[in-house]
């Protein structure tokens, strides 16, 4: 048994209480612990990715209980990839936060570690109920992070966020109950064996469970019609938290990919491919809603939030085709859109810090400190987000369009992705020119009391994210090679089942 697999969960689980119990009075020590933990997680991600690279699925039986009775963690190429992405994002966000933002409230670093623990756990687990538990862990931490710093509007958005997710959790439990009631197991590998054997009389229950599960993951992934919580939450959350939340929608996408390739994939008998019929139209509508929202936004934060919804639409469109090529393209777009959205949220934070009284509202106002540098960052990140050449977003969309060529819905997919890309370009172009260009022509200058809180380290964080986007573009060849192998492995469900149960 490979003990490395549990470390991405164990490290933050140990560091978080240590920060609360031992170093809560010393912000410097808390920062040291938090950054060290983030670096360790990045190293662990790299090591696990190296272990998974040979294409073998590895398992870790918690408590060494025999399968399928115990809870299992599973490492394959997809989970390793998601771990690395989480670690990169976590490290960058913590760098931004220690620039002074973490002083706005207490226990930022502890909550942050717990959030990373929940996300890592959700990516590693091979058990449906355990997935629910890790969802709850990451959600509880995210409730605390979401309202960090306080303020009436943020508290109200926080309450809405909590209520929506509590309803989601209830639905998740109902779905788990239905699936357990029919199959008698919650181990994903075991489920993959039992689902094809479910008789005709119980298909209705099973398929209801499967679709309720899709609804729950849809809430997480901000899929229409359950996307309404996202703009309020992300636009009102503090900048570093919103940047970290960029990975949370991807937890939903990951769960959809995992469950509907492994358990309800081609080998699932009557329930095979149950998600695709619902997912494709929902994803296309999500894409349109998101990009129209970009056009209608009144603040930069809102605009980026709607951009996230639009990018989830693009990503899930690719996922809903359920072919190895489309999945590989979707995963590339997933990497890119997470990093691009996080960059934009951090840039929103930089802008908010420098425009006292105005925040990120899209109104023409006098220019502010370091506007040129921030505008340059925004320009690059927006190009990536809307999918213009030369950055990774363009390659991602191109791969998705190419992979959709054989689909029945190819006309819809091509036309909607291309038209909405134009909408996004107009939206982001208008936002950027209002905020940076037209404002530069106005007399005077907005001054903050003292130096803005987000200083050099925040710019380093944004720079790192931009560099990662460039990396993704320059090394697109090797990256897509890895992703092709990942997608191929996802469709080799027999290898996964064998690795877990034998």
């Amino acid at each position: 048994m490979n003990h490395w697999i549990i470390l991405p969960i164990l490290v933050p689980a140990v560091v978080a209480p240590m920060i609360v119990l031992a170093v809560r009075h010393d912000i410097v020590l808390a920062r040291v612990f938090s950054v060290a933990s983030a670096v360790i997680m990045l190293l662990l991600g790299g090591i696990l990715m190296g272990m998974a690279a040979d294409g073998q699925t590895q398992m870790y039986a918690l408590g060494n209980w025999p399968m399928p009775f115990g809870i299992v963690l599973v490492l394959d190429q997809l989970s390793a990839l998601m771990l690395v992405l989480t670690a990169v994002l976590g490290l960058v966000v913590v760098l931004y936060a220690i620039d002074g933002w973490d002083r706005h409230g207490r226990h930022f670093h502890a909550l942050f570690q717990l959030q990373l623990m929940g996300i890592n756990g959700a990516f590693l687990t091979g058990d449906l109920f355990n997935l629910f538990v890790f969802f709850e862990i990451l959600l509880i931490a995210s409730y605390g992070l979401m309202v960090h710093g306080g303020g009436p509007a943020r508290m109200r958005a926080g309450v809405q966020y909590v209520v929506v997710n509590l309803v989601g959790s209830s639905v998740f439990l109902v779905a788990i109950g239905l699936i357990y009631g029919v199959t008698g197991t919650l181990n994903m590998a075991d489920l993959a064996l039992r689902v094809p054997e479910v008789g005709a009389s119980e298909q209705a229950l099973l398929q209801t469970g499967a679709l309720l599960l899709l609804l729950v993951f849809g809430v997480k992934a901000a899929l229409v019609p359950v996307q309404f919580w996202l703009p309020g939450t992300y636009a009102l959350a503090p900048a570093p938290v919103a940047a970290l939340f960029a990975i949370m929608t991807k937890v939903g996408a990951y769960s959809i990919i995992r469950m509907y390739t492994l358990v309800f994939g081609d080998g699932a008998g009557e329930a095979a491919g149950i998600a695709a019929d619902w997912l494709l139209p929902a994803a296309l509508v999500t894409l349109v809603v998101g990009m129209v929202g970009v056009l209608a936004s009144r603040s930069l934060g809102q605009m980026v939030s709607f951009g996230v919804i639009g990018s989830m639409g693009t990503l899930l469109t690719a996922v809903s085709l359920f072919t190895p090529e489309a999945l590989s393209a979707g995963l590339y777009y997933l990497l890119h859109s997470t990093l691009a959205a996080a960059t934009l949220f951090l840039i929103v934070g930089l802008v908010v810090d420098r425009r006292p009284g105005l925040g990120d509202d899209l109104v023409v106002a006098p220019t502010f400190a370091q506007a040129g540098l921030i505008a340059g960052g925004f320009f690059l990140a927006a190009i990536a987000m809307v999918g213009m050449p030369p950055l990774a977003g363009f390659l991602g969309k191109l791969l998705i369009l190419d992979a959709a060529r054989d689909s029945d819905a190819v006309i819809w997919i091509w036309s909607l992705i291309l038209v909405t890309s134009l909408l996004a370009i107009i939206g982001f172009g208008r936002g950027g020119s209002t905020l940076f260009w037209k404002s530069a022509a106005v007399e005077g200058r907005l001054e903050t009391d003292g130096a803005p809180e987000s200083g050099a380290l925040s710019f380093v964080a944004v720079g790192l994210l931009l560099a990662s986007l460039v990396f993704l573009t320059v090394f697109a060849g090797p990256v897509t090679g890895y992703l092709d192998a990942t997608a191929a492995q996802l469709f080799e469900t027999r290898a996964y089942i064998g690795a877990v149960l034998d």
Partner: protein, 117 residues
């Protein structure tokens, strides 16, 4: 027994959803609580309903109750209890800070601006 269990799950869910849709914090919290009761009940019933059957192995048992849903329900109860506490605290804080107990954001978005701290 099946009818009583099934209909009580249904009634609890219906009442919970109705209260949720009131979109004011107090009814919403009550609605969430009812909904979690319904879910717990439902999960419990998914191990099949049985009377006087032991969940653990014993020599004189004729059959067994499924112990797993009971463990799942325990976990679900603990989590939902903690979540209810969190949402009560947050709702109270939001009400005290903004003088409004609406759960939906749009209704007062025009009158209040986000403070950008």
């Amino acid at each position: 027994m099946e009818f009583i269990v099934a209909s009580s799950v249904g009634v609890l869910t219906a009442a919970g959803v109705y209260l949720l849709l009131r979109a004011r914090t107090y009814p919403v919290i009550l609605g969430l609580t009812l909904l979690t009761y319904a879910v717990n009940f439902f999960l419990f019933a998914m191990g099949r309903l049985s009377v006087n059957l032991p969940p653990v192995i014993s020599d004189e048992a004729l059959g067994y109750a499924d112990p797993l849903p009971q463990a799942l329900v325990l976990t679900a109860i603990v989590i939902s209890f903690g979540m209810t506490a969190v949402v009560v605290a947050m709702a109270l804080r939001a009400y005290l800070e903004s003088d409004s107990d609406h759960v939906d954001l749009s209704r007062s978005e025009g009158s209040e601006k986000a403070d950008h701290s």
